[in-house]
């Protein structure tokens, strides 16, 4: 394998490239799908892909192939150089130098190697059974269990040569509860881990089942203004994309981020602390280095409500005259973009229970279904799996409640974050309480 990367680098350099970067991903994957309360299909896949990025007088060429035959790699390198010869020059184009990378522990489980499709099927079955046995009214619409074992290699003409293995097990379950003519809200739950021993699809299934059962018998309510508590899933659906776009330097440079020009300013309640941290191995986005080989680090993005930094790859960093934050992302079949890694919101002091007990009138929002504009933050949609909260007590489920507003306003109106946090793939999130929300009866 080592030879292939350097073969590509040498070939491109000999044809005139000034800088060359080669990224190789080799992955083995098994996945089992659930549909209509039954296992549906099983899939297994072995795939490798190599992406060759070259610069020639500041012009970019990029060629990707999944054929790792040495002749084909040489041809691919030659085509990337040819492409660079006809591309316009961009003075910010850059392939980074050597950086010191400390390899993370805890993102690769040796046992992943012997994890077979049969094991994935067993896990999917357990998840399905756990949901169905919680209550016979639970109906599972779809779900999956997947295991991925990937090897990442990155080398460039500046002497960088990195390798890392990652194992990821992830699962999801979606459906509703049916009781006669009463159909609950849909619920979706997902989780994942890097290690075999932490796989716990049954708990995810039980939480899903409990949520849909609890939302049976939903009642219409009158419109009111009050507080909402977003579950981590609802936070992902309503808030996360807006923040992810706003802190992305590429969006800032293209003037499509509301945070442009707000470094050092207050953009949220002082309760909010946001980090992007690929070195947190709980998140499934954990890795030692980014898509360009820059060492990952913990980036504090919002501290006590104040915007501290944007996320950069080498290209956008050069444009702004700053250093890359290690946020080059993307697969081997594209040149690097700017991406978040693990999106981490700091925990608050109170427990979820305590946070709810302080509320006079509000709604616990399990999920949000609607439209969110990632640029200007406007949202409107329907509360799913909502529970009424009155005088500190969780009350009956509610239906047909609409919420509309602006995510940036919501950030300023955060009145509580829970001590408990959940890991949802690449997000680590507490429950979030937000004031000043108008709930409109449908």
């Amino acid at each position: 394998m080592a030879d292939i990367l350097h073969l590509a680098i040498n070939e491109a350099e000999s044809l005139g490239a000034s800088d060359v970067e080669v990224y190789l991903v080799a992955a083995k994957e098994s996945e089992v799908f659930i549909e209509n309360n039954d296992l549906k299909q099983a899939k297994s896949q072995a795939a490798s892909s190599i992406g060759i990025r070259v610069l020639l007088n500041g012009s970019l060429g990029f060629y990707s192939t999944n054929n790792l035959d040495p002749d084909r790699i040489r041809q691919a390198a030659a085509k990337a150089v040819k492409m660079a010869r006809v591309s316009p020059k961009d003075r910010f184009s850059v392939i980074p130098g050597k950086s010191k990378v400390q390899l993370l522990r805890g993102i690769y489980d040796r046992k992943a190697k012997s994890f077979e499709p049969a094991d994935a099927a067993k896990m999917a079955k357990e998840m399905l059974d756990a949901a169905r046995s919680t209550d016979s009214r639970v109906s599972v619409d779809s779900g999956n269990f997947s295991s991925v074992l990937a090897t990442h290699r990155l080398a460039n003409s500046n002497g960088l040569d990195l390798k890392e293995r990652v194992s990821i097990f992830s699962w999801s379950i979606m459906g509703m509860a049916l009781d006669g003519a009463d159909v609950s809200s849909f619920d979706f739950q997902s989780a994942g881990t890097h290690s075999v021993k932490d796989i716990d699809a049954a708990s995810t299934a039980k939480e899903f089942a409990q949520t849909v059962i609890n939302s049976l018998g939903a009642q219409k309510i009158d419109s009111f203004k009050g507080e909402m508590v977003l579950t981590p899933s609802a936070f992902v659906e309503l808030v996360e994309d807006v923040l992810v776009n706003s802190i992305n330097s590429d969006a800032v440079q293209k003037k499509s981020s509301q945070f442009a020009g707000k470094l050092g300013k207050k953009v949220a309640s002082e309760l909010l602390n946001l980090e992007d941290d690929a070195t947190n191995t709980q998140g499934l986005g954990a890795a030692s280095f980014d898509r360009e080989g820059v060492a990952h680090r913990r980036n504090v993005v919002i501290k006590d409500g104040v915007l501290k930094k944007f996320l950069y790859n080498s290209y956008t960093a050069k444009k702004d005259g700053v250093r890359s934050t290690g946020n080059a992302g993307g697969s081997a079949s594209s040149p690097p973009n700017v991406s978040t890694t693990n999106f981490i919101v700091g925990p608050g002091r109170p427990s979820l229970q305590a946070m709810i007990s302080e509320m006079r009138h509000g709604i616990l929002v399990s999920r949000f279904s609607g439209n969110v504009n990632p640029v200007n933050g406007d949202f409107s949609g329907v509360v799913k799996g909502g529970r009424l909260i009155n005088n500190g007590e969780i009350g009956p489920p509610v239906k047909e409640v609409m919420i509309a507003g602006n995510v940036f306003d919501c950030l300023k109106n955060i009145t509580g974050l829970s001590r408990e946090r959940k890991i949802l793939h690449t997000s680590v999130l507490p429950y979030t309480r937000i004031d000043g929300v108008s709930f409109t009866a449908g």
Binding site: S30, A42, N66, P117, A118
Partner: protein
């Protein structure tokens, strides 16, 4: 793509164990060039080749894919597919009962192209994209942002199965898209113009890249000052793109047999009147009536020839869209709708080119016979539910009063129930076009599809601002 030699033989050698085995080699080359505001935003070529193997064991499907296409790699992958199918068979309740008998395709099929894309230098692809983007901005000072994208997908497939399919397929699907954003005062508007086809370089640029740029820029300029139409339920004349979107998004998905089985709105409607008798709706693997439809495929990914399927004949529902598994359940033949996007995807029931057949009315007559209504042009995004309720965006609308077009208005959303809309059709035009070829249909995996028709006159809700 020269390393494909001997693959047909290696795939054939996987077929010898008394079960249904399907092996599909696919080599794909995607090239993309994108300029935004004078800057090269994206350039890349991606080459992906590998084999997807699907087996049916004890009534369960197993699927495995690999990029290792040497004999040993293929054997290992077959073993994986067999083993996952067996694992599933242990706990799956609902089993596959059988596959419909189908005539299996053999031979070589190549998309008709004028100007082989592989022979066009990357330099030309960069040049046209750069020129078109620059021309869009140069058109008018109110155009503040422009983007031009060239994209091509070249496929070589070899497909065999244990029921006798043995085909080699060559496909070529390029597309070219321009976006123009005009701004003045507090107003802004986004207009686009694009083309997506099955064909070659000359087919793609029947209208030159600069003409396409001109059209996009013109549209943005005209629409910037235009007012929004009032919201109302009224008479609408839909252009071929809107008709295509309606056929695909709002009708087509409801007649996909897998959706029918999970309870779509047409599940008990076979043989019944579901549309005006003026409506004949077809989904076809061929580029019927007009050339270069983007969803054209010669053979589907189960080895069945992808012919013409009449879904609605003169208003009566006549067929669902099937793969071999659903056709067996319904006691009919596969319609050749099993499609997989990449080698690593398994085939699913997907549409191809979905359209309404032309009849005799000219657009002029349709306008002349409309007392009050709108001409709706330029399909945008769309959403539709399983019950046929839809909401589509249109780029431009034109007010019609007393048989005359009164002027351009901004885009609007069009909504209604697709079957009610088809029942309301009272005029069907005579000029046919495909016009949604730049889009991709998403159903677990993407698929290149097309749709179109003539202009049709119907009743639906035009929704004001969008």
């Amino acid at each position: 793509m020269k390393s494909d030699a001997g693959i047909m033989d290696r795939l054939q050698s996987l077929l010898s164990n008394g079960k249904y085995v399907e092996a599909r080699y696919q080599s794909r080359l995607v090239t993309e060039v994108n300029f935004v505001n004078g800057r090269l935003e994206r350039i890349k070529t991606v080459e992906n080749a590998g084999c997807g193997i699907r087996v049916l064991v004890d009534g369960c499907w197993g699927f495995s894919s690999t990029s290792d296409i040497a004999a040993e790699g293929l054997r290992d992958s077959l073993e994986q597919a067999l083993s996952v199918a067996r694992v599933l068979a242990e706990s799956k309740k609902e089993k596959v009962k059988g596959l419909a008998q189908s005539k299996m395709a053999t031979g070589t099929f190549s998309a008709k192209v004028r100007g082989n894309l592989a022979d066009i230098d990357i330099e030309d692809k960069v040049r046209v994209t750069k020129e078109a983007e620059a021309a869009t901005r140069k058109h008018s000072s109110i155009i503040k942002t422009a983007s031009a994208t060239y994209r091509e997908i070249l496929d070589h497939k070899i497909l065999v199965n244990s029921d006798g399919a043995a085909v080699e397929l060559y496909d070529s699907k390029p597309e070219f898209n321009i976006v123009a954003i005009a701004k003045k005062g507090g107003k802004n508007i986004t207009a686009n113009e694009g083309i997506g086809i099955t064909g070659g370089w000359q087919d793609l640029f029947k209208k030159s890249h600069l003409e396409l740029a001109q059209t996009a820029a013109d549209k943005a300029e005209k629409l910037l000052e235009a007012k929004h139409p009032a919201g109302e339920r009224t008479t609408l004349i839909l252009d071929p793109g809107m008709v295509g979107l309606l056929c695909h998004e709002a009708i087509g998905h409801t007649v996909e047999a897998d959706f029918v089985l999970s309870g779509s709105v047409v599940k008990d409607k076979m043989g019944q009147q579901v549309a005006s008798s003026l409506v004949t709706l077809v989904d076809s693997g061929r580029s019927d009536i007009a050339d270069n439809a983007a969803g054209t495929i010669a053979v589907d990914d189960e080895g069945v020839e992808a012919g013409r399927t009449v879904v609605i004949k003169e208003g009566v529902l006549t067929s669902y869209l099937h793969n071999r598994e659903s056709a067996f359940i319904f006691g009919t033949a596969s319609t050749g709708n099993a499609r997989a996007f990449a080698y690593s995807d398994e085939p699913l029931i997907r549409m191809r080119n979905t359209y309404i057949e032309p009849r005799s009315d000219s657009l002029d007559e349709m306008v002349k016979e409309t007392r009050h209504g709108y001409l709706v042009k330029g399909a945008r995004n769309g959403q539709a539910d399983a019950n046929g309720e839809f909401m589509f965006g249109a780029q431009e609308t034109y007010l019609i009063e007393k048989g005359e077009i009164k002027g351009i208005l901004r885009g609007a959303s069009i909504s209604g129930n697709a079957f009610d809309v088809l029942k309301s059709v009272d005029m069907v035009g005579n000029k046919f076009e495909y016009d949604i070829g730049t889009g991709y249909c998403g159903k677990y995996q993407p698929a290149k599809v097309d749709g179109g028709g003539p202009h049709i006159r119907c009743t639906a809700i035009v929704g004001g601002m969008q």
